[in-house]
């Protein structure tokens, strides 16, 4: 399973990437939507974990681009903001899951697996 983590919180995203790696999941990380698009353009990912609010491109905008580039890639939102309206927007836009920070890594991995099973 190849995962792209997109979040402007460096310390969180690097630690998460390392922890996923320790569990055998290949995880790349970038800090913004623009970089994420660049990665997706170059490389195929099974899962993209997106923050909703980021400087520059928002999570939703990034997802839209990702889905255009790799329609089969699953998107999971991991956000610190969290609101019902945002949840609805994300799910309606095609996200598989909408998770609130902080999230247990096992839950995140479980959701990734569930998302992949949807295929």
């Amino acid at each position: 399973m190849r995962v792209l983590l997109v979040d402007d919180e460096d310390e969180m995203i690097t630690a998460l990437a390392e922890r996923l790696s320790l569990r055998g999941i290949e995880a790349d990380w970038v800090n913004c939507g623009e970089d994420a698009i660049a990665c997706v353009t170059e490389k195929k990912y099974d899962i993209v974990v997106l923050d909703v609010k980021m400087p520059g491109m928002s999570g939703l905008e990034t997802m839209e681009q990702v889905q255009k580039l790799q329609p089969e890639t699953k998107v999971i939102f991991l956000t610190g903001h969290g609101s019902a309206s945002e949840f609805n927007s994300c799910i309606e836009a095609g996200a598989c899951f909408y998770l609130m920070k902080p999230t247990d890594i096992e839950v995140l991995i479980e959701k990734m697996k569930e998302a992949l099973k949807e295929n």
Binding site: A15, R19, L22, S58, L78, G82, T103, I105
Partner: protein, 587 residues
């Protein structure tokens, strides 16, 4: 507890003057006093004027009515007494016609006197005196002969005047008498003087009978020297000096008001008796004559007092009810305004809740991942260096610090909405407000620029109210700007008394038409997103704090809000007992 404490209306204690244009607290006690005085004056002034006019008019009429009968009494009595003397003089004249000086004798005169006495009992004696002053005949009690009258004053007067009436005098028997003497000189050979002594009791009886018309009045006769000729009930016995200063010049009836120290004013009516030295006098204390007026005045005073009490009662009841109604309305209004203000602040803070959650959840997520990583490294027996360990710990500590910054900022927000003055560093307060907006600015690429003048003085104001002001103004700026916009916040001192904060954005701006209404309650251009109360409340708070809120805006170019606040608390605006006002607002 006194009676006042029991009956005083609830608003009395709330009567603290507070010049507050936003939440108006009346000085109810002052309103009540002015209303009572005003209503009482309006109600009673016509009554008082009517009463005074009535009193003076009635007094004038009463005085005229009082004087008229006295004048009539004096005039009638004058005529009666004058008629009495004229009658007696005529009788003597008649008798004189039959007297022949050469033939007159005591016996002849005695017969005439006896007949006279039968008709006119007051005649005491009669005597005939020749032109040499020698008595020629006498009729009456006793026997007086060879008396010479040449040197006597009355004899000289009667010879000169033809007729003479003497003053009263006391006779040897103690009774009072007077003389009437008549000179008969139609025939030079038969010239003589007929003199009659008369008892004064007849005059007294005549006066008493006439004076019965006015029993309250004393009536008597005085002579030209003010000597009492008949006894007075109040002013002395016969032949004593009268103590009243009566004007004796004219014979015409007169009415005088004489001030007497011991008795007060005395009404005196008097008139001269023609052909005599006498003057009829009637007198009575004015109070006795005006007792009816006094009684009437007393009744008026009682009626007026009852009317005043009734009016006072009605005025007090109506005014108290009126002020109470205002007070209750104000209480409700202030409570509603407080609720609106509180709700607005909560809404402003609520708007920040998302940002707050984000600001806390992100560092929590870092902690979660960093600690999770540490656990993974340890539990999975991975190699890790001491530096890596420290790096992870630093990251955790840094995230904890981020969380505490947010929670401290949240706690820093005043939860009270009552007014508490304290020194405030305005730049710090604005930075605290901006803590929650930093991320939104970052995500929306809004440039937030804060410029603070060096040595900006701290101000004496209320933290809670100012937070609300700047939350509202800065929130509005965020709403106005597009993503990638710019908000400039500038703080500077204006002289030593004022500090200004300018919040300028390059957003959509406000049209000229809307600019006129932005401080009106419930006016909003945000549709369902806005309550229309934010700027209205902000404007009210700034005014309450003694400051000013100005706005400039050009449609499409942006808006600038300038909040100007006093450095020192304005005592004229706030009492030192704001807590009481707060309690009042809450009811």
């Amino acid at each position: 507890m006194g009676v006042w404490e029991k009956i005083k209306p609830a608003f009395w204690e709330e009567s603290k003057p507070l010049a507050d244009s936003h939440i108006k607290i009346f000085d109810y006690a002052r309103v009540w006093k002015y209303a009572v005085i005003g209503a009482f004056t309006i109600a009673l002034l016509p009554l008082i004027i009517m009463l005074l006019v009535n009193h003076y008019e009635y007094k004038r009429v009463f005085r005229a009515e009082m004087m008229s009968p006295i004048y009539c009494l004096v005039s009638n009595t004058q005529r009666s007494i004058t008629s009495f003397f004229s009658g007696r003089k005529a009788v003597l004249q008649f008798i004189s016609e039959d007297i022949q000086l050469e033939e007159v004798s005591d016996q002849k005169l005695g017969k005439v006197f006896a007949n006279l006495k039968k008709i006119f009992g007051e005649f005491v004696n009669l005597r005939v005196i020749d032109s040499n002053g020698k008595q020629r005949a006498y009729a009456g009690p006793g026997h007086l002969q060879s008396v010479e009258y040449n040197d006597q004053a009355w004899y000289k007067k009667v010879k000169k005047q033809g007729i003479y009436v003497s003053d009263m005098f006391r006779g040897p028997d103690g009774s009072v008498y007077f003389l009437i003497a008549l000179k008969y000189d139609r025939n030079p050979d038969n010239s003589f003087i007929l003199q009659a002594s008369m008892d004064a009791k007849t005059i007294e009886g005549l006066i008493d009978a006439l004076a019965l018309e006015r029993p309250s009045m004393d009536a008597f006769i005085i002579n030209g020297e003010g000597i009492l000729q008949t006894p007075s009930d109040s002013y002395g016995k016969a032949l004593e000096k009268l103590s009243l200063p009566i004007a004796l010049e004219s014979l015409e009836p007169q009415i005088q008001e004489i001030e007497k120290a011991s008795e007060g004013p005395i009404i005196v009516g008097h008139a001269g008796i023609q052909g005599t030295p006498f003057r009829f006098v009637t007198a009575a204390p004015r109070d006795a004559l005006t007792s009816d007026l006094f009684l009437l005045s007393k009744r008026f005073v009682i009626i007026f007092s009852v009317a005043i009490l009734c009016v006072l009662g009605v005025v007090l009841f109506v005014v108290t009810a009126f002020v109470k109604h205002i007070y209750e309305s104000d209480r409700r209004r202030v409570a509603v305004l407080h609720n609106i203000q509180y709700t607005n602040k909560m809404a402003s803070i609520g708007r920040l809740a998302g940002g707050v959650a984000h600001e806390i959840n992100n560092p929590l997520a870092i902690i979660n991942e960093q600690v999770g990583l540490l656990r993974d490294l340890v539990s999975m027996n991975k190699d890790y260096s001491r530096e890596r360990f420290l790096e992870i710990m630093d990251s955790v500590l840094s995230s904890v610090k981020r969380c505490s910054t947010v929670t401290h900022s949240l706690l820093g927000f005043a939860t009270h909405i009552d007014v508490r003055f304290e020194p405030i560093a305005l730049d710090q307060l604005i930075r605290q407000v901006l803590v929650f907006m930093g991320k939104e600015a970052e995500y929306r690429r809004i440039t937030l620029n804060l410029e603070v003048q060096d040595n900006l003085p701290s101000i004496e104001s209320d933290v809670g109210q100012l937070e609300q002001v700047f939350l509202n103004v800065i929130n509005n700026a965020f709403d106005a700007v597009d993503d990638g916009g710019r908000i400039n916040i500038e703080l500077w001192a204006e002289g030593s008394d004022l500090v200004s904060v300018r919040v300028a954005d390059d957003g959509c701006g406000i049209s000229e038409e809307n600019l006129k209404h932005i401080f009106d309650p419930f006016f909003s251009t945000k549709g369902e997103k806005g309550s229309g109360l934010g700027l209205s409340i902000t404007y009210g708070i700034v005014q309450k704090l003694g400051g000013r809120l100005d706005v400039k805006s050009i449609k499409g170019e942006g808006s600038t809000f300038i909040v100007t606040l006093p450095v020192k608390k304005m005592d004229s605006l706030f009492s030192s007992e704001e807590e009481d006002i707060e309690g009042f607002a809450r009811g």
